[in-house]
Amino acid sequence: MIEVEGLTKSFGGLTAIDNVYLKFKKRELSSIIGPNGAGKTTLFNLITGHLSPDQGKIIFNGRDITNLPPHEISRVGIGRSFQRQNIFPRLSTFENIQIALFSAKHINGKLFSQAKNMLRDETDEILESVGLTDKKLMQAGYLAYGDQKRLEIGIALAIEPQLLLLDEPTAGMSPRETIEITKLIKKLVKKRGLTLIFIEHDMDIVFGISEKVKVMHQGRIIFEGTPKQVKANAEVQKIYLGKDKK
């Protein structure tokens, strides 16, 4: 599905991503964990074209997508959500999804047809699947924090990705919301047959959703395995889980 080969990126003197090799299989649910500053978000930014790497290649479905601009990477089938909520605040919830669909269906260049009723059913279906049907006419900026996160997942799904990258999908949520969102993500990903890679701090979520876990530390991948193996690994315990123990 997606392969990262020898990826390196430095900012000034700091090497944020240091010769990383990764492989994700189709329909696999993986997570990337690691302490703050380990380079997880930078890795996402490199994959989605937000940053370009100093060295290395990114191969998606056999195609080299290194150095493609973000809008083209979205088009090949990679959707992402962001750590901080990233929606279109002054548009309605409905429009947020609808505009993403316009892009996915290649009709956002249409100048002379009225947008209002276009792709209504498709938009409603996505709103339904992320549980925002009853808030569809609200201005997105006024949605509660948890609902904005849901909306973001909806926007990411609207572009019909094969690979979904979620950057801390539950950051800042209450425990109850966290459980709901986790269930939602798992359900949606399974239903649509997506490949999922997500960054997370919360170990319960990581071990709840993921089939594979990659541990990052100081720009390197230091361990890969199933959640069980990760829990059992002494080094991971030391640098990451140990610190996080309550």
């Binding site: 979205s74 548009l91 002379f112």
Partner: protein, 325 residues
């Protein structure tokens, strides 16, 4: 008393289409009732309303604040005026050539400008407009320099103030309908997404720079149309049409009326031109009052007159409706 006011606004807001058509009909029968001096004032308001709406496609809808709309407006005005003066091509063709020329210049200027954002974008647009101003000002043999381009032919049909008013009214309405269709199309919605969050828009697969350039070109076309209309209306064009002071007029018109409302610039244009004529009739210090208006707008009415109505007055009505239930 409060109930009556609320009732009034409730009706006006819910019957938007009714009031809109009433306003249009009123504009059409106006010359029967008022003097030509006012008709000429309203003609000017209409043209600036079009220029404001054209600028607003960029500013209010795409989130690109341009300080150089007057440059493109002047390109439209000069193109029409020079064609009328130096060639024998039909009048209608000169009216089409203005916007097209402005669109072409807009494509070149825009190609450079969209490479930068925010204040750098604004500075680039300002710089290009001043380049255009300088060309019109210095190229004496062709444009007449600061004497302007004057004394060009006009079709007989448009010689009277009333008939040229009808011509302007018709073209402005057609252009506004076109703009309205555009901002409500999938393209227009995509522009709004860019205004709200350009980074996110990039990640839903939109080539943001390209769409910003399209918005720039379409905006230039309509600014050019406004310029062409003004050339025909006033019978003369001057380099000052491209000056940054003219750009400021257009920006203030958008802000005054409300840039998040489609008809905001129309309201802005009417109020702004009315105030400017009124105040400059009494005093030489119009610029002083302009300054005060801008300060007031930025501090107290961020969304302009239209925003004030929909944010401050519409909620009152909403409240009223809920208590009725």
């Amino acid at each position: 008393m409060r109930e009556i006011i609320q009732e009034f606004f409730k009706k006006t807001l819910t019957l938007r289409l009714f009031w809109l058509s009433t306003a249009v009909i009123l504009l059409f029968i106006l010359p029967l009732f008022i003097s030509t001096a006012y008709i000429s004032l309203i003609s000017e308001m209409l043209i600036m309303a079009l220029a404001g709406c054209a600028l607003n496609l960029m500013m209010g809808y795409t989130g690109m604040v341009s300080f150089g709309p007057a440059g493109l407006y002047a390109v439209g005005a000069y193109t029409t005026a020079l064609l009328l003066k130096k060639t024998g091509i039909p009048f209608a063709a000169t009216m089409v050539a203005g916007p097209i020329m402005a669109g072409l210049v807009g494509a070149v200027v825009g190609w450079f400008c969209v490479r930068r954002t925010a204040v750098y974008f604004a500075l680039l647009t300002l710089a290009f407009a001043q380049i255009i101003w300088t060309i019109f000002f210095e190229w004496y043999d062709f444009t007449g320099g600061d004497d302007g381009t004057v004394g060009f032919r006009k079709p007989e049909l448009l010689l009277s103030i009333n008939s040229s008013y009808y011509f302007i009214l018709l073209i402005v309405i057609i252009c506004l309908i076109l703009l309205w269709i555009i901002v409500n199309s999938p393209f227009g919605k995509t522009l709004q997404a860019i205004r709200e969050n350009p980074v996110r828009t990039e990640f839903i697969g939109v080539n943001v720079k390209r769409y910003q350039l399209y918005a720039f070109i379409i905006s230039s076309l309509f600014l050019g149309a406004a310029g062409s209309l003004f050339a025909v209306f006033s019978g003369s064009v001057f380099p000052d049409y491209a000056h940054w002071i003219k750009s400021t007029d257009m920006i203030v018109i958008c802000l005054l009326g409300g840039m998040y409302n489609f008809l905001g610039p129309v309201i802005g244009s009417a109020v702004y031109i009315f105030l400017s004529k009124l105040i400059s009739g009494y005093t030489m210090y119009w610029m002083l009052f302009l300054g005060i208006i801008v300060v007031f707008l930025v501090l107290f009415m961020r969304n302009g007159i239209a925003g004030f109505i929909s944010h401050k007055i519409a909620p009152l009505i909403q409240e009223n409706k809920e208590t009725e239930k």
